[in-house]
């Protein structure tokens, strides 16, 4: 999956209305939409889109949207 498509799907998954505010270097924890529950949405997103089992610890290591993208392609 290309970065652009990833960002669009990620935005939908974590309920960010306008995907255009996201880019590779966005710190996703600073988004208004981010909450402790977003981790569940992300875990579901990786399971659904990539068939990947991602845990809390994996997400903790990520800072930017680019990190999340790399996690999907690992």
């Amino acid at each position: 999956m290309e970065l652009k498509e990833f960002i669009e799907k990620l935005a939908e998954a974590i309920e960010v209305e306008d995907a255009n505010i996201l880019n590779e270097s966005t710190n996703f924890r600073e988004l208004d939409e981010w909450s402790s529950l977003s981790v569940m949405l992300l875990i579901a997103f990786y399971d659904e889109e990539f068939g990947k089992q991602i845990g809390d610890a994996d997400i903790k290591k990520c800072v930017t949207v680019g990190d999340l993208f790399n996690l999907a392609n690992k």
Binding site: S35, S36, M40, I43, A44, Q53, G55
Partner: protein, 352 residues
């Protein structure tokens, strides 16, 4: 792989009791701002819960449910040869609560009674243990009591668990009868994930002390709890559940030689609505076959599966019905059961 099969045993009657105090989750704002609470509540789908008061234990809820069941069905108490009590919120550290309930319910001293301490998946374990014992032939009727007061376990100042849990008790009468076909169970354990859901203090590894009773800030979100209160690593639990639960359901269906179309109702542990919706979507299950009580009773741990049957299927279990029961929880420990119901008598829920 523990796959179990029993024949000619089943649940003939059920009853449930819930505390009378209703917690409206939107208004549970003592420690967190209302808009934050609303966001969490909408996502987990728990709008109301029942909280037991300081003097009410799991056993009291089960006692009320059992009295209702025994009275409604005019059961001869002398014919109850087995009582199993499922709970992680017992009356005392000893003796076993089941023994006290034997006396309180006026059951004979020849009745076998013991507790099962296991957590959210325990109802299937309880059924499996009782079905197995009943096949020995020496037990006429068995009473399975399943009660939890989880409201007393978690910190109201830890938003990861403050809005989820509620209290309830259920009683199920189990009898031998050729009208019941085969029941199938798969029971599983993964102790490597023992730290995902835990109350670390107050056992014998970390006995109660001033230290275990101290409230502490435990994470970057400012959540507060003591070591004698439960915690839950929700993300890791979720990650585990979305992989293992669909897999276990498939394995058990295969073991029974049937498909999802043969199941009349899927009764899931009411963990939170987010998890259950996700599993249903992932497994492409018909939502009309999935009764839910998460909105009105929250997560009542091991009670959630039987409570959902009593609350939602009271008028739907006439004739022969096949139910698939699926639950997971602390341990981790997870179970699937495929059980026949034949004209099960379900009493109205009582308030305590």
């Amino acid at each position: 792989m523990a796959m179990l099969k029993y024949e000619g045993v089943g649940i003939t009657a059920m009853a449930a009791a819930v505390p009378h105090t209703i917690i409206n989750n939107y208004e549970y704002t003592q420690y967190f701002p209302a808009e934050q609470v609303k966001e969490v509540v909408d996502k987990i789908g728990v709008y109301e819960r029942r909280f037991a008061d300081a003097d009410t234990c799991s056993s009291d809820l089960c006692y009320a449910a059992a009295e209702k069941l025994l009275t409604d069905n005019a059961v001869d108490r002398n014919e109850i040869d087995l009582l199993v009590f499922i709970s992680q919120t017992p009356d005392y550290r000893m003796p076993a609560t089941s023994i006290l309930l034997q006396h309180r319910l006026g059951l004979p001293q020849t009745c076998t009674a013991f507790d099962i301490n296991l957590g959210c998946a325990a109802f299937c374990y309880g059924l499996s243990v009782i079905y197995g014992m009943m096949q020995s032939g020496g037990i006429r009727k068995a009473l399975l009591l399943d009660g939890e007061t989880r409201s007393k376990v978690y910190s109201p100042k830890d938003r990861r668990s403050a809005f989820i849990f509620g209290d309830a008790g259920v009683a199920a009468l189990i009898e031998r009868d050729p009208k019941f076909g085969i029941s199938y169970f798969s029971l599983n354990s993964d102790g490597s994930r023992g730290d995902l859901i835990m109350i670390p203090g107050g056992g014998y590894r970390h006995p109660s002390s001033i230290e275990t009773l101290k409230e502490k800030v435990v994470d970057e979100y400012g959540n507060i709890r003591s070591d004698e209160q439960g915690y839950m690593r929700g993300g890791d639990v979720f990650n585990f559940v979305i992989r293992e639960i669909p897999r276990n359901i498939k394995q058990t269906l295969e073991f029974a030689g049937i498909g999802t179309d043969d199941i009349h109702y899927f009764v899931f542990h009411q963990a939170n609505n987010f998890i259950n919706s996700y599993i249903a979507k992932k497994m492409k299950l018909n939502p009309a076959k999935i009764p839910s009580t998460i909105a009105k009773y929250g997560n009542t741990s091991s009670v959630s599966v039987p409570l959902t049957i009593v609350s939602e299927l009271r008028n739907s279990l006439f004739g022969e019905r096949t139910l698939l029961l699926s639950a997971f929880g602390v341990g981790m420990c997870w179970a699937t059961g495929i059980v026949p119901f034949v004209d099960c008598k379900i009493s109205e829920i009582v308030e305590v």
